[in-house]
């Protein structure tokens, strides 16, 4: 078990291993996405208050969960990279940023498209929306910072500090709907009492969340592989790899 993890921290081994895994992750994600869409768009009944507009939830909520989850993965791997100087951890952190930013963007756009028919406005400066927007800026700031520093190890260290400071925003986003009076509705699923959502809507929602999780795993490995090729371009294994016809 430990030897397996040890091997994974070697770029050469991780490159080969993830190359075999990626098609399965993306494929499984696609299957779950289709299942979730059929469940959410066709099988689930309209909401008794919001009609069919609530169907945006199947993109909006899993995206929002992913935007927070990916940030935590980024912070965790950035910390590991900062403390133990493990290159693969640094790569996971920088590879996660564009995907996390994408999910944050999706959350904001779908939220806006949901807010217009339900609240009558595309945007309000309410606590939930504003803190999620700050999350997008944290992602973009991290990407810009890494791009601005030539040396990859220095870039990783500077980025890690930014990401770790930004972690303070995560509980703010999560609890914003409880701490402040917001226009945004309270949590539907992630609370201690039973979820206030019917099973016919909850099941496709969770399937979509699983699909997004697998999608993230697949795409982050794709990006980590690119990072490896770039960073290790002069190493023996990359040279052997590119010389093969």
């Amino acid at each position: 078990m430990w030897t397996f993890f040890h091997k994974l921290s070697s770029p050469q081994y991780l490159y080969a291993w993830s190359g075999r895994l990626i098609p399965w992750l993306i494929g499984a994600s696609l299957v779950f996405m289709i299942a979730g869409l059929v469940g959410g768009l066709v099988l689930a009944p309209p909401d008794y208050q919001q009609g069919d507009s609530y169907r945006i939830i199947f993109i909006h909520v899993p995206s929002a969960w992913m935007s927070l989850f990916i940030y935590m993965v980024m912070a965790g791997s950035a910390a590991i990279g900062l403390i133990w100087r493990i290159k693969v951890a640094e790569m996971v952190a920088s590879a996660s940023a564009p995907i996390g930013a994408s999910f944050t963007f999706l959350t904001l756009v779908t939220g806006s498209l949901w807010g217009k028919p339900m609240w009558g406005t595309w945007w309000v400066w309410d606590a939930r929306l504003t803190s999620e927007l700050i999350l997008l800026f944290l992602y973009l700031g991290f990407i810009a910072l890494q791009a601005a520093i030539e040396d990859r190890r220095t870039a990783a260290r500077a980025g890690a500090v930014l990401v770790l400071v930004g972690v303070v925003n995560i509980p703010i986003i999560h609890y914003s709907v409880e701490w402040w009076n917001t226009l945004h509705q309270g949590p539907t699923v992630t609370k201690l009492a039973a979820p206030s959502i019917h099973l016919s809507m909850l099941v496709p929602l969770l399937i979509m969340a699983l699909a997004f999780m697998l999608y993230y795993a697949g795409t982050v490995l794709m990006r980590v592989r690119c990072e490896m090729l770039e960073r290790e371009r002069n190493s023996r294994w990359v040279q052997d790899l590119v010389r093969q016809p």
Binding site: D52, T110, W114, P117, T219, M222, L229, R233, Q239, V242
Partner: protein, 56 residues
């Protein structure tokens, strides 16, 4: 439920379908971007490796 009823989304077609379209574009872009980046990288590195072996 008929197809046109399904596409109509109870009057919320614009909001629901634009959400799903944006999601499709963003998700697709995040797969295609690293896919082509890797192809380009390997091609570039292979070209440099060939040049280097010719110099030697």
């Amino acid at each position: 439920m008929s197809l046109s009823e399904f596409l109509h989304m109870g009057g919320y077609a614009l909001y629901v379908w634009s959400s799903y379209t944006v999601a499709l574009i963003v998700l697709l872009a995040n797969v295609l971007n690293p896919y082509f980046r890797k192809k380009r990288l390997i091609r570039e590195l292979a070209r440099k490796a060939r040049l280097r072996s010719r110099i030697r």
